[in-house]
């Protein structure tokens, strides 16, 4: 696939006329117009270190200045591929005077983690960006789209600004009983943490309903928090709202303390990441699983009444794969569905291409579109379509809507986007996936 977008042509700085004189022999060389830029004298100490010092002073901001310009991050950064943003460029631009705290680039990193995977200096954008964003937010410098999401999350406990009391409205269409702990507080095995997009987005609700049916058919003892559930807010944290994350965490922990359960199972890799990696740092330890892990552990018990005859490709969510090392569970589920032929995209597993939704990107579509030649989701959908797949399977609630929109805007309407839970449910009940 060609490198897309707003790439600038390199600027050639060779001098039209240049003579190099050897300091030893005094011999002269005419190198006019020659292609070696090293011959132009340059001073390496021209740049002040103040820009880095301000960032390095923040907790998490230390590593930006470690960059030694090797460029390994350039081809793996999903944003760099469609714009003029990348870790190496950010390092360089801060060096030459960019005020990252007030720049648009500050909001472009999706915290996908691919640069950190390859960076020999462990420049950690997943910590640098949120740290700088937090300061920018405290100063009130925040894209308006994102501001609205933060205010909604603070007010309603969900990023969509939906009525908190309708958080479990989706259960009505599940055709199975879904226990809400507030009504029936008996101890439960699996606490199904539905999270925002499965609770409120119409396509997410369908996946939630499918998952509830699967759990019921597997006799899993499960329940939800209903209107007491609030988002775990991991993407809000990475977008710079640590205060909001902490305030949500206090409320979540208080609600969880009322009930007895063995483990928390969530469809949202972002929430999963919060429970696994961030909550323990604050002393809150829960056994957390991604729904694909729970189902993969019970795969032998799943009975398929029908088949799902389709070529399928799978998009690894950054926060399930790269951030938490889970590549197998979703594939195990897909491979178990009779009729599914799994095709891998060029970028998969550790090198999976980000959908653009992480780290606040989910809510910065308009803002970032000014800086990129195409949406990351659009690029990813084209990669998926190139495999010849009929279905793009996903395992993150952010993705169905992102990829469905992208399939339309890139002229790939034939590519269906489905959550793995929906696919399992269809094959288990012998439904036709085409309808």
């Amino acid at each position: 696939m060609p490198v897309g977008g707003n790439k600038q042509a390199p600027v050639i700085t060779e001098l039209e006329e240049a003579i190099v004189v050897s300091p030893l022999s005094g011999r002269e060389w005419d190198v006019s117009g020659a292609t070696s830029r090293m011959l132009e004298s340059r001073v390496l100490t021209d740049y002040g270190s103040a820009g880095f010092a301000r960032i390095a002073a923040l907790e998490g901001g230390e590593s930006l200045e470690y960059c030694y310009g090797c460029g390994k991050c350039v081809p793996v950064c999903p944003v760099d591929l469609v714009s003029e943003y990348g870790p190496r460029k950010i390092h360089r631009r801060v060096q030459t005077g960019l005020d990252l705290f007030r720049s648009d680039e500050l909001w472009m990193c999706t915290t996908c983690g691919n640069c950190l995977r390859v960076c020999p200096k462990q420049v950690n954008m997943i910590e640098v960006m949120p740290a700088v964003r937090e300061v920018a937010m405290a100063d009130g410098t925040i894209p308006e789209e994102l501001q609205q999401v933060m205010e909604k999350t603070f007010r309603y406990g969900n990023a969509l600004g939906e009525n908190p009391r309708r958080r479990h409205a989706w259960t009505k269409g599940a055709d199975v009983e879904v226990r809400v702990l507030a009504n029936d507080p008996r101890p439960v095995d699996v606490l199904f943490y539905v999270e925002d997009y499965w609770s409120y987005h119409p396509r997410g609700q369908q996946a939630a309903q499918a998952f509830a049916r699967i759990l019921t058919s597997l006799d899993v003892d499960f329940a939800i928090l209903g209107s007491e559930e609030k988002t775990l807010g991991d993407s809000q944290r990475l977008a710079g709202e640590k205060g909001l994350f902490e305030s949500l965490m206090e409320q979540v922990v208080e609600v969880l303390s009322k009930y007895q359960f063995n483990r928390i199972v969530t469809p949202d890799p972002h929430g999963f990441n919060a429970l696994r990696k961030i909550y323990p740092k604050y002393g809150h330890d829960y056994e957390a699983m991604h729904y694909s892990q729970l189902l993969a552990s019970m795969i032998d018990r799943i009975e398929f009444q029908g088949t799902l005859d389709a070529k399928v490709t799978f998009h690894d969510p950054c926060y399930l794969g790269r951030h938490n090392g889970e590549y197998e569970a979703p594939r195990k589920l897909l491979e178990a569905i009779p009729g599914v032929e799994l095709l891998e995209m060029g970028r998969c597993r550790e090198n999976s291409y980000c959908c653009g939704g992480g780290g606040g990107g989910m809510w910065l579509d308009g803002f970032n579109s000014n800086h990129a030649s195409e949406r990351l989701s659009e690029r990813r959908v084209r990669e998926a379509a190139e495999t010849g797949a009929d279905i793009l399977a996903v395992a993150c609630p952010y993705e169905v809507s992102r990829f469905e929109d992208a399939a339309k805007s890139t002229g790939n309407e034939h590519l269906r986007v489905m959550d793995i839970a929906e696919m399992l449910d269809i094959a288990m009940r012998a439904q036709d996936w085409r309808i």
């Binding site: 937090e134 937010m137 405290a138 009130g140 925040i142 308006e144 501001q147 933060m150 205010e151 603070f154 007010r155 309603y156 600004g161 939906e162 009525n163 009391r165 710079g240 709202e241 640590k242 205060g243 909001l244 902490e246 305030s247």
Partner: protein
């Protein structure tokens, strides 16, 4: 320069509002309350003036559900002082006239140059607070203000008039303004900041007792608008639906 911003709470429309048992008010027990959007614009205008000149900003609100959140957010955004007025039933609907009376009796003990409030509130759309405050305090007032410019001891304000006109006038200070829009969108108070404000700053409480009772409007009946006409849902493919819409528009002589 001391600017006082009067703010208020109202029912959040994310909730489905229900009429209470006697059919005279919304059922306030089950709704969330948020600050009035126009008051947020008034606060933003005050803070912008503060950024330009060394003004101090006091935010005042009647005790109403979730009002602390609004006041702390205002402090986090840069207000210097937050005052909560008590002495009324915090769960009841306080009408504009009484609200003005209460705020005026607070202002009677304050030295101030400018009072800003939202042009109206989204629930009663009454739009009279700035006017009544102005007349009670016997100072100039302007409503539907979309621009404020300080010119020494007076104030130049732009007001949105009918028919897309904007009128500019000069007012002597002190004055009261009902703000329609601030120069910029309301700024963001990060939750970290709001939490800091909660820990480090205090909301001042002042009890207001009104000697003279204000004339009250009594609500006889509150009800959702009665259904009129109906909507027709068109079904079929996008193409069929589009053709059908064109036919309807043609038949009504609209296109």
């Amino acid at each position: 320069m001391h600017i006082v911003v009067a703010m208020r709470q109202l029912a959040d429309l994310v909730e489905e509002l229900e009429v209470n048992g006697d059919g005279t008010d919304i059922d306030r027990d089950f709704v969330k309350f948020v600050s009035n959007e126009w008051d947020e614009a008034a606060l933003e205008e005050a803070l912008t003036i503060k950024d330009e000149s060394a003004a101090s900003v006091t935010v005042v609100a009647l005790d109403e559900p979730d009002v602390d959140q609004t006041l702390y957010a205002a402090l986090a955004k840069g207000a210097d002082r937050a005052v909560k007025l008590t002495g009324h039933d915090p769960s009841a609907w306080v009408r504009t006239r009484e609200r003005a009376q209460r705020i005026a009796s607070f202002l009677a003990h304050e030295e101030f140059d400018l009072v800003l409030t939202g042009v109206q509130a989204a629930d009663d759309l009454d739009g009279q607070l700035a006017g009544i405050l102005g007349s009670t305090l016997d100072i100039p007032h302007a409503a539907v203000v979309v621009g404020v410019e300080l010119t020494g001891s007076s104030l130049r304000v732009a007001q949105e008039l009918g028919g897309g006109l904007v009128g500019v006038s000069e007012l002597e200070l002190p004055a009261v303004l009902g703000v329609q829009a601030a120069r910029q969108a309301p700024r963001y108070a990060s939750i970290t900041r709001i939490r800091q404000a909660m820990q480090t700053q205090k909301i001042e409480e002042q009890e207001v007792s009104l000697e003279v009772t204000t004339p009250q409007v009594t609500v006889r009946r509150l009800y959702p608008p009665e259904k009129q006409g109906g909507a027709t849902m068109l079904t079929g493919s996008a193409k069929d639906v589009a053709t059908e819409i064109v036919n309807i528009l043609r038949s009504k002589g609209l296109v």
